[in-house]
């Protein structure tokens, strides 16, 4: 049995809209093991963002328990939570959220700024991470000089900065065109395989989700279904059914014509 990185028990999150109470998460139980690549799918309003906020310690659950890297973070005060966010979690946003007035390397270095590393170590680490995401030599560029795909790569490098226990990605391909979309998913898949990075990715794109190992379906704040992902990156872009070569953008295997998409978007709506 592999080590559990993230576990939630009976997680509830209720928003109060005036006098009405709206449940966003309802008795949610989730377990993510070390080295796993999990995708969470669900229609809008299913609680995806709320879940990610709670998992990322950006928001507190109304009740339940959450354990991250052996630490019960459910009731930690803010003065300790920021350290959890800094050291144990790497966040990837749909809109990249890079600071426009900092260059790529400086953006990557941000989470390390108040850590123990020296300035030169931080700079070196930022460069190494940019190499890792395929942006060697682009460290001096400001976000506006980079393409959307490149910006998301910078954001991924930033998420890896303090070598976190888990990467939380919120619709990481939501603002990208098809080509960049699969490049980013491929990159995440490779990080997962080569570095063993644990990734939880929220998406509503079944094709993107199929690149993960495990796809969870969220509806009304509960996990209603779980499917095995194809984990295409792990299979080195070979069809899991017939073994022939496929492209990351292929929706069906060109040889055996089997579907390579984990779940249709419509299915979850």
């Amino acid at each position: 049995m592999s080590e559990t990185v993230l576990r939630t028990e009976k997680l509830f999150k209720t928003y109060e809209m005036g006098k009405r109470k709206v449940p966003a998460l309802y008795d949610l139980n989730l377990q993510v093991n070390k080295g796993e690549f999990v995708a969470i799918m669900g229609p809008s309003g299913s609680g995806k963002t709320t879940l990610l906020n709670v998992l990322g310690c950006l928001d507190k659950p109304t009740s339940g328990k959450m354990i991250l890297d052996q630490v019960d973070v459910t009731n930690l005060p803010e003065r300790q939570l920021y350290k959890i966010r800094r050291n144990k979690i790497g966040f990837i946003f749909q809109t990249f959220n890079l600071l426009p007035y900092l260059n790529a390397a400086e953006n990557v270095g941000l989470p390390m700024e108040y850590g123990k590393r020296s300035k030169s170590e931080r700079r070196q680490e930022a460069r190494r991470l940019l190499d890792l995401v395929g942006l060697a030599g682009r460290g001096e560029h400001r976000p506006q000089r980079l393409s959307a795909g490149e910006q998301q790569r910078v954001a991924i490098a930033r998420a890896l900065a303090n070598d976190p226990a888990i990467i939380l990605a919120d619709e990481p391909t939501g603002n990208l065109d098809t080509e960049n979309k699969f490049e980013i998913v491929k990159l995440l898949g490779n990080l997962n395989i080569e570095r063993g990075t644990t990734i939880v990715m929220v998406t509503h794109d079944g094709h993107v989700a199929s690149h993960s190992e495990r796809v969870l379906f969220l509806k009304d704040g509960k996990i209603t279904k779980e499917k095995k992902g194809l984990h295409l990156a792990k299979k080195k872009l070979a069809c899991p059914y017939c073994g022939s070569k496929i492209q990351p953008t292929d929706e069906r295997c060109p040889t055996c014509r089997k579907k390579l998409v984990a779940a249709e978007e419509e299915e979850s709506i």
């Binding site: 990322g56 950006l58 809109t95 959220n97 600071l99 007035y101 108040y114």
Partner: protein, 461 residues
Amino acid sequence: MGAFTRAVRNLSRRKMRALLVIIALGFSMAIMVSIPAGIVANQEAAQAMTADFNSTMTTMQEQINKTATLIECQTSGQGMFSGRPFEGLQQQQTYMEESIANEIRSISGVKDVVEFLTVSSDETTSETINGPMGRNFTISRPVYTITGVTLNPSFIDDYSILPTNITAGRNLRQGDSGVVLLNSNLTAYFGVGVGDKVEMYGESFTVVGVYDEAGQGRFETRSAYVNITDAQTAAGLTGNVSRLDVYAEDVSDVDSIAEVISAAYTSLQVTTYKDRLSQLDNMQTMYTQTLTSAQATVSNTETVATQEIMIAVVATSLIVLFVMLYTVRERTKEIGTLKAIGFSNWNVMSQFMLEGMLLSLVAGVVGIAIGTVGAPLLSGILLPQISPFGSGGNSQFRPGAANTGNFGSFGILGASTVTVTPSLQTMLIAIGAAVLLGALGSLYPAWRAARTRPAEAMRYE
């Protein structure tokens, strides 16, 4: 790459806003810088006035004491405006017969009678005088004034009838004729030196010496001394004098001699030390009024300045407050992101405090620059100014007897040129205040920033 670099980049990212804020803050800071300088300038002006008054009073008192036995007899036209600053302003000068001198000499108790003839050139110059608080006025005055004196060695020694401050050449002496002693203003006006010839009243005179006018009046007097007979000939006033200085044997005789002269020659203005003392009293009263008014201005200045500085302080803090609040609102998502990737509340708060302080630091430097350059103008607008002419603002000085020479040289007339320069200390305090006010103004916005929910990072607008 630290919080400081980020603060600098953020400020330079929105140049127009930063610039406007810096200008607005800069003016507040400029007010803070220039006002203390204005206060100091006013205090200094008041002190200078006091010192001037005191020394003038002392000098006059001494001269009155020294000349206790002197009875001045003048023809009309002199007296009221015969003090140095106003010398030559009178238009209607009348003269008296020289024979009156001999008649007065025969009055018992009279020791000496010294004759003078003071005449002004018909030619005039038109000049603009700088008045207080930048007000100018134009006057027309004679090119020069010549005083003819009796070159009797004992008169020269006993009664100081000639200037003493010789800067070139020599003084006049007994037997001199066709020679002139010029003051430095007049040599400059004519462009001559010792040994040169000058034409005055159509007569040619050789310059034998140059003297400096004691004191510094508002008017650059242009005067000359010649033998009295030369003056009479040149001016066509043979046998005439304009003033007689009558010296009594003893102070106790002064009153009776003055009475006799007044009764015999009704057209003469006769003044004794008592008159001069009462003139001095009047002056003292006016001086005191002026000083009181100056002191009132100084204390008023301090009150006004305190209010204005308070307004500037509040304005500065408010500007920083609003700008930083706006900035924080605008950057909610950025702040959320910073918190999501592990910035603590304090990291975020100090970031925004730093930005606010940096903004006001730059504004402070700009403000000091504006304040230093514009201090005279700003303090002129913002603070009440000391008027050297007293509360009424009109010239009321009546400088008194002519023969006592230096009476007219009131330094106070020149005291309106106050220099307003902010001191280094003021500048340093202003810089400190700028940073402090920046910190104060950004305290609440930075706190708001720190309280931003990290989940704001997920807002997709």
